[in-house]
């Protein structure tokens, strides 16, 4: 979840209710507590198990950053909820008769449970914290997601073609020295980072300290929005230190202010001096 590099992956696992007992004997555990080799092994095992089905939703880091930095910001909880809803819908559409769904919560568990139950009225939802260590089916899903993410990061082909780039990402988690070194090496004063990086993560902020200032109209609106008491939480998540100190609309674009409507609508300003 807190990786700063690569795609974000949500996973699900499904099986017959009668298979649950067997499932608990497969030694699935919260994927974070398992060693990489163990996770890979468990993933390979469940892939060949005919009684288990699984699905993943891979969210591209570019899309992830873009959503969180949009004019109308989408927060991480919403992205995560939509991903889970998409997975449930996908499994139902495959013809699987879902009766019970276990979900690791993002945000308030009770509200999330109500939201899911409203969308899928025929399904019983159990939404809880630490579901990935409480329910084997969620543990299994977390393994599927984690392995998929790790592989995607390992095999990532960067968009960027700068000479100094390399793919020793480390785990992608901000605490990993290799990841830190990769971030430090790949920061760019104008572009920030290669698009593999989740720009909207707070972890990125210190790397942008010395970067070129870039002013966006969306940030200006954002600031105004938070002044009115809206979107406070989202601002914290997405305020990545790219924003300026003094934001002026005039800095961002011409306005045609004070001219007749024709020019205002086209933002055509009269230039009386060049610099």
């Amino acid at each position: 979840m807190s990786s700063v590099l690569g795609p974000m992956v949500y996973g699900c696992l499904y099986c017959a209710c009668s298979y649950q007992k067997t499932l608990s004997s497969l030694n699935f555990a919260d994927s974070k507590t398992l060693k990489e080799e163990k996770r890979e092994e468990l993933f390979e095992n469940l892939k060949v198990d005919n009684c288990i089905g699984w699905e993943v939703d891979v969210i591209d880091p570019r899309e992830l950053s873009a959503k969180m930095l949009r004019k109308l910001k989408v927060n991480l909880n919403e992205i995560s909820h939509n991903s889970a809803i998409g997975l449930v819908r996908r499994v139902i559409n495959m013809g699987v008769l879902l009766t019970e769904v276990y979900v690791d919560t993002v945000g308030d568990a009770e509200k999330y449970q109500i939201k899911l139950s409203e969308i899928f009225p025929g399904v019983k939802f159990v939404v809880s914290k630490k579901a990935d260590s409480l329910y084997p089916v969620v543990s299994g899903a977390s393994i599927v997601a984690k392995v998929t993410r790790d592989r995607a990061l390992r095999d990532w082909v960067p968009d960027e073609t700068a000479d100094n780039m390399h793919t020793n990402f480390g785990s992608g988690y901000p605490g990993d020295p290799e990841t830190k070194a990769w971030l430090e090496h790949h920061k760019h004063s104008l572009f920030g980072f290669p698009t593999l990086v989740r720009f909207s993560w707070g972890t990125c902020t210190p790397y942008f300290k010395d970067s070129v200032e870039v002013l966006w109209e969306a940030d200006k609106e954002d600031e105004e929005g938070s002044r009115n008491g809206n979107g406070k939480r989202q601002l914290k998540l997405s305020n990545v230190g790219f924003t300026g100190y003094k934001r002026k609309t005039e800095d961002i674009e011409s306005s045609g202010k004070g001219r007749c409507k024709f020019f205002q609508a086209r933002r055509l300003e009269l230039v009386s001096s060049f610099l």
Binding site: R62, E63, S65, A66, M68, L69, R70, K71, D159, E160, T161, A162, H188, S189, L190, F191, G192, P194, T195, V197, R198, F199, S200, V212, E213, V214, L215, W216, E217, A218, V240, F242, G244, D251, I252, E253, F262, A265, R266, R267, L268, L270, S272, S273, F274
Partner: protein, 170 residues
């Protein structure tokens, strides 16, 4: 521009659009981008290594939509030609003999010359699809409005206008 110069007496300057050195004039067609943000940098950067526009299948108002990412934001854009009869220029302060830049006095445009030309521009919106309603495309309306307002009327036009006013309008 001419009209404004005469109105605001005191503002003077020249812009020399003739290629300074014809064979070496750079053609920046397909390479000029207008971004929906203000970048506080004036200088070269490794643009082509980091800025990677991609074509999408989407077409809006006849514009083929492209997408790109810049600083974590998604940009949607389109390449549009500069209207016929017009050209885009990159201007630079005219260098005097000793390599000195022309002094720009207060209320003076200074002296400028063209360093490069371009026949199209790729403009980008943050998150929203490009459309015919975008200010940049609507700016081009000014060309025909300016023509209608300022183009000298020939005697033939005047004659045909007085005889058949409707025809002259079209």
């Amino acid at each position: 521009m001419n009209e404004e110069t005469t109105k605001n007496a005191g503002i003077r300057g020249t812009i020399d659009l003739a290629p300074r050195d014809p064979p070496s004039i750079s053609d920046l067609t397909d390479r000029v981008h207008l971004l929906p943000c203000s970048i506080k940098l004036d200088g070269p950067s490794e643009i082509s290594h980091y800025f990677k526009p991609r074509d999408t299948e989407v077409v809006v108002d006849g514009l083929s939509v492209k997408e790109a990412y810049f600083r974590g934001r998604k940009l949607l854009g389109a390449t549009v030609p500069i209207p016929e009869g017009f050209k885009g220029y990159v201007l630079d302060k005219k260098k005097l003999k000793k390599g000195k830049i022309t002094e720009s006095l207060e209320g003076d445009f200074g002296q400028w010359e063209s360093r490069a030309e371009f026949g199209n521009i790729t403009y980008w919106n943050h998150d929203t699809h490009p459309s015919a309603d975008d200010p940049l495309l609507r700016c081009f309306h000014w060309f025909s409005v300016a023509d209608a307002l300022h183009k000298p009327i020939t005697t033939e036009e005047l004659a045909s206008y007085s005889t058949a006013s409707e025809k002259a309008q079209t």
